[in-house]
Structure formats: structure tokens, C-alpha cells
């Protein structure tokens, strides 16, 4: 049975269509990331699921039951807000147990449940602290614990880690994923950070302009993007205009034969070619598309070679030990690794 089902959901704000007939089936216990640039409708979709917005059109089902008309406070969902929205007038344990207090659970049970959740988020014994005494990462954990305190059917998180610094953020991504796997709760996270989505999700939903561009497993999106936007948004890539005809992809006047493993969505006519930087190979100028090296960026773990062909920029990431004889201004010949060309609309 499908746990969370979105059926042609639309939302207008005045004349602006924030969400345009979005449909989704999210299986029970999956970790889903709504990914996209700001203004793509991902937060609106999350708020519609929570009932904080009323849809212009469409329905929301949880466990088969229509929730569209159910008011927010009767949906029984867990949610972590971007600002965390912890209550400064309550201590940590009372924050976590707030949903239980609303439901009339007695104080002893609430305290016990709060302590249990504090252990889950690795903050044992901090129940009597005030919110302002906690660090950013600790507040984050308290917000997660509070969202989980009623064992919700659906756990929603709106950019939950955006306030944290980079290293703590990566750590929390892994931890959040581990907690979700342990509890098996259906989880929907809104993020604009594709690395965050790739780290945590079973299913990534890429959105743009209120429309789903592609939904799939992280590596499916990485290797077989549905269009140029997804190719550019998931990971880094080189996007080049190309023409396809008779088993050949022509880029900037140079013809590359289609090889086995290439993902060719457009078999003839104008299209976009996407090749990841790690699949761009360099050789002698006459061995491929001639390009001028414009910048070298050595990061130790890899060497980034920025090149120009006319107005088109192409980047290659070389493994350590390669390309140390390259100099800026030199002309090289670009080839693409067999089976790693992706042609999309």
C-alpha cells in the first residue's frame, strides 16, 4: 500500500502558480528528498502535505485516507521547520513532549518518552536544559526528536540543516538518514542541496517552476537525467549544444560516435550533450575536439582543467597523477569516455 499519495496537486498564490498538477506515490518507509532551486515549489508541496496551505486543486492521501480537508492539527504529522521553531518558553523535554501534552498524555509518560527520544538523537540527559542554552547542532537534534515524538505516519522536514555549518551539516545528514532507517518512518525532506539529497534519499524528486522534472533513485538521476536541467542540477556536468544523426553526436563541429552505454534520448536533431567532468579525456590536439586550456585548479585529490572551445567552457576532472604536464594556453584534444555520453532535450 502507498503511504503518501499526491494526486494532481496545484497551488496558486494570486496569479502565480507555485505548484502545477503534481502527482507522486511515496511508498511506506521511504526517505524522499524534494530537490530544486528556490521558488521551484518544493516548500509549497511540503506545506500542502502538512496542511499548512490549502491546495487550489488536487488531493493528498496518507495510508489511503483522503487528508485534503483535514485541518493541520488533526493530521498527526511530524515536522521540522527551517527556523526549527522550538518553543523558547519550554525546556528541552517539554518541547519534545509538546505534541504528547496536547494529546493529554500524563507528565511521567511524557518525560520518559522525551528521554527516550533524546537518546535516539544522542542528547541523553539534556531534558531540563533551556533552548537558548543549546548549540545549533543540539537544537537541530531537539527539533528532530520533537518531530518524531508521536511516531508520526509521515515525517516532514523543511530545509532542516540549512542553518548548520558545512561539516556539522554532513554529519547530521548521515545521522538523520540512520535515525530514519532505524524507525522506518516515511520521510519527506525539502532541500536545495543536491549533495544532501544524494546522501540521504531513497527517492529524489527534482522540481523546477512548480513541476516535477524527474523522480528516481539518486544514481538513476545522476546517470540517466531526464533533461538538461536535471543533468545540470544533480552533480556537476558539461552541457553542450549538439546535433544527433546516424549514430553520431556532433559537438562544436566535431563528430563523436555513439558507443554502447551512451544514454541517447534524442536520436536525431538538435539536443544537449551532458558529460560529467570525470568522463572528459584529454589527448593530443588531433585526437579529438581541439580546446585551449584556460585555467588549472589543482585540489590534490583531483586536477580540474578548465578549457574553452570558442564560447563554450568544458571542464575535465583528472585523477591524481595525471595532467601535470599541462600548461595554461596549451591546445589539447577533448574526447569523451565511451558509454558516458548523455543526450537530452
Amino acid at each position: 500500500m502507498t503511504e503518501l499519495r499526491i494526486d494532481s496537486l496545484s497551488k496558486d498564490f494570486g496569479t502565480f502558480r507555485a505548484l502545477d498538477s503534481v502527482s507522486l506515490d511515496i511508498p511506506n518507509g521511504k526517505f524522499v528528498c524534494l530537490l530544486g532551486p528556490s521558488g521551484c515549489g518544493k516548500t509549497t508541496l511540503l506545506r500542502l502535505i502538512a496542511g499548512l496551505e490549502t491546495p487550489t486543486d488536487g488531493r493528498v492521501y496518507v495510508g489511503g485516507a483522503d487528508q485534503t480537508e483535514v485541518p493541520t492539527h488533526k493530521r498527526g504529522m511530524g515536522m521540522v521547520f527551517q527556523s526549527l521553531a522550538l518553543f523558547p518558553h519550554l525546556d528541552v523535554a517539554d518541547n519534545i513532549a509538546y505534541p504528547l501534552a496536547i494529546r493529554g498524555v500524563d507528565k511521567a509518560t511524557r518525560r520518559a518518552r522525551a528521554e527516550e527520544l533524546l537518546e535516539l538523537v544522542q542528547l541523553p540527559g539534556l531534558g531540563s536544559r533551556r533552548i537558548h542554552q543549546l548549540s545549533g547542532g543540539q537544537r537541530q537534534r531537539v527539533a528532530i526528536a520533537r518531530g518524531l515524538s508521536i511516531n508520526p505516519q509521515v515525517f516532514l522536514l523543511d530545509e532542516p540543516l540549512s542553518a548548520l555549518d558545512a561539516s556539522l551539516r554532513e554529519h547530521m545528514q548521515i545521522e538523520l538518514r540512520q535515525i530514519q532507517q532505524r524507525l522506518g518512518v516515511t520521510t519527506v525532506v525539502v532541500t536545495h542541496d543536491q549533495k544532501e539529497a544524494l546522501t540521504m534519499a531513497d527517492l529524489v524528486i527534482v522540481m523546477k517552476d512548480g513541476v516535477i522534472q524527474q523522480a528516481g533513485a539518486p544514481m538513476e538521476l545522476y546517470h540517466t537525467p531526464a533533461n538538461a536541467f536535471v543533468a545540470g542540477f544533480i552533480g556537476t556536468t558539461n552541457l553542450m549544444p549538439c546535433t544527433v544523426a546516424d549514430g553520431v553526436v556532433s559537438v562544436l563541429g566535431h563528430a563523436f560516435p555513439i558507443t554502447e552505454g551512451d544514454r541517447i534520448a534524442i536520436t536525431s536533431g538538435e539536443a544537449q550533450l551532458s558529460v560529467r567532468p570525470e568522463h572528459v579525456l584529454l589527448g593530443a590536439p588531433d585526437e579529438g575536439l581541439p580546446a585551449e586550456v584556460s585555467f588549472l585548479r589543482d585540489l590534490g585529490e583531483s586536477l580540474h582543467v578548465l578549457m574553452r572551445v570558442g564560447d563554450q567552457e568544458i571542464t575535465a576532472h583528472l585523477a591524481p597523477g595525471h595532467g601535470h604536464d599541462l600548461v595554461t594556453g596549451q591546445t589539447v584534444g577533448i574526447r569523451f569516455r565511451d558509454g558516458e555520453k548523455v543526450v537530452v532535450q
Binding site: 499548512l52 492539527h73 498527526g76 511530524g78 521547520f81 526549527l84 521553531a85 518553543f87 518558553h89
Partner: protein, 284 residues
């Protein structure tokens, strides 16, 4: 360059400016008032410098005890009503569009520009028998005969609330508009109904602002002496009215000064208590 003390933006002597102003306009008049309150009343019209407790002794009577109680109850009631009306109003206001908020705040501010005299006479006309709402109610068939609603305690409290309401909103507005709207949404998602989220999350988080608005309106209405005479009966006359009466009409400056000192002490004590309560509950 050797290490030199960091120069603050303003020279240090500038700090004396507020102290000088405070001395000139508050401490000196207060000192004079204290001195006058222990002076000897000269029945011919003024006072002679001396040191006697007569004025204070006269104040410690059942009559003035009752006046004090009336003053404080009237101001407490007005403050409570103002805050009870202004708080939901401000929460509602802060959820409106930016333009609507600005317009409403401008209207409120312009109400502050009206003098107490205009407000008092307007209300006494509106509540009168011949030209007021009593006529309207009669015309609508709600009451049998046109009647006056002034002078009365109701009219007095209405007038004080009219004056106090904009102040309460202005004190409440900044903290209310700064309150994270996600806090309320969080409470809603976690199962709190609208009223429950309001009383369980919004009110406790703004306790300090509510106490502040309450104190401001209380102190402000405690000093009102015009409205009680215009809109209230003589038994609703507040201490401020009696102070004016003694100082201006009875030419008894020492007694007026003694009552003023007492009123000030009571007001200070109540403000202290209220802010203490606000702080303790806020940190608990």
C-alpha cells in the same frame, strides 16, 4: 603604531547629557514636590517652608483610602481591558499585508494626536441622552426611552481605554511582529488547535511585552484627571482629580504634593511587582 585605547564613537562627557536632563526635569521638580509636601499650609493661599507631617496625616483617612482604591481599580481595569483587546488585535495586525499594517498603524497614531479634552467631550456627547447612542438604540427599538450612558463608570473606562489602546498596540507591535510565524505553525502541526496555539505558544512567548503594555497603560491612565471629571461620577474621581482639586481649587499645595508623592510610590510599587512577575514567569 603603539597600542592606543580604542576611541568610542561618542566622547565620554556626552553621557552626562541624559543625567543633566534627568536632574533638571525630573529630580529637581520631584525634590520641590517632596519639600512642598512637608511644608506648612498658609490658609491665605500659599505655603511656608517647614517640616511637618500634617498633609500626610490628613491623607491617611478612610475617604482618601477609598479614593486611592478607586484610582487603582479604574486604572487596573482599563489596563486589563486595553491589553486584552490590543493583544489579539496586534497578532491579527501582524499577519496582514505590509501596506494594510502601515495604514492601520498610521490611523492608530493619529488617534494619539487627539487631546484628552476632545476625546472626553466627544464621548460625553456620544453617550448623552439627547444626541448619543441612547437615541440610536431607542430608534432601533432596543430600549423604551432614550437614555444617557454618561456620567458612569462605563463611560470613564471607555474613555481611558480609547486613550490606552493605541499605546498598548504600539508597545506590543514590535515583539509580536518579530515572533517567528513558524512557531505557531509548529504548534498547529503538532496538534494544537487555533486557540490552544494562541494561549499555549503565542501568549507565553510574549509575556514580557504583555506585561510592558499593561504597565504602560496602567501608569498612563493613573495620571488621567480630565476624563474622570468629564465622564465619571464624583465617586469615580481618581486621586489625580483630587490632587488637581487640592492644588488648584483649594489652594492646598502641601496636601496636593503629599498625595502626589503617595500616588507615585504606589505606582512604582505596582510597576515593580508587575515587572518582577513578568520576568520570573518568563524565565521559569
Amino acid at each position: 603604531m603603539s597600542a592606543t585605547p580604542v576611541q568610542t564613537a561618542a566622547p565620554r562627557w556626552l553621557g552626562l547629557w541624559p543625567a543633566a536632563m534627568l536632574t533638571l526635569f525630573f529630580l529637581v521638580p520631584f525634590g520641590i514636590m517632596l519639600a512642598v509636601s512637608v511644608a506648612h499650609r498658609d490658609v491665605s493661599g500659599f505655603y511656608e517652608w517647614s517640616f511637618e507631617w500634617d498633609s500626610y496625616a490628613r491623607f491617611l483617612s478612610a475617604f482618601f483610602g477609598k479614593v486611592m482604591a478607586v484610582s487603582i481599580s479604574v486604572s487596573l481595569t482599563a489596563a486589563a481591558i486595553c491589553v486584552a483587546l490590543a493583544f489579539p488585535f496586534t497578532v491579527f495586525l501582524s499577519n496582514m499585508g505590509h501596506r494594510a499594517q502601515t495604514r492601520i498603524l498610521v490611523v492608530l497614531l493619529s488617534a494619539l494626536a487627539l487631546s484628552e479634552v476632545i476625546i472626553g467631550f466627544s464621548l460625553s456627547t456620544l453617550l448623552s441622552q439627547t444626541a448619543g447612542i441612547g437615541n440610536l438604540f431607542h430608534w432601533l427599538g432596543l430600549i423604551d426611552e432614550p437614555r444617557a450612558y454618561t456620567p458612569s463608570l462605563f463611560a470613564l473606562i471607555t474613555g481611558l481605554c480609547y486613550i490606552g489602546f493605541p499605546f498598548a498596540v504600539l508597545v506590543l507591535y514590535p515583539p509580536v511582529s518579530r515572533l517567528d510565524p513558524e512557531i505557531v505553525e509548529a504548534a498547529r502541526v503538532m496538534g494544537a488547535s487555533g486557540p490552544r496555539a494562541f494561549f499555549g505558544v503565542i501568549v507565553p512567548n510574549l509575556r514580557g511585552a504583555i506585561v510592558g503594555a499593561f504597565i504602560l497603560v496602567f501608569v498612563f491612565t493613573l495620571g488621567s484627571y480630565l476624563l474622570p471629571q468629564l465622564l465619571g461620577r464624583s465617586e469615580h474621581w481618581t486621586l489625580s482629580v483630587h490632587i488637581t482639586d487640592q492644588a488648584v481649587y483649594q489652594s492646598n499645595l502641601p496636601f496636593g504634593a503629599a498625595m502626589s508623592v503617595f500616588l507615585m510610590l504606589v505606582a512604582l510599587a505596582l510597576v515593580g511587582l508587575a515587572s518582577l512577575a513578568g520576568r520570573e514567569r518568563g524565565a521559569a
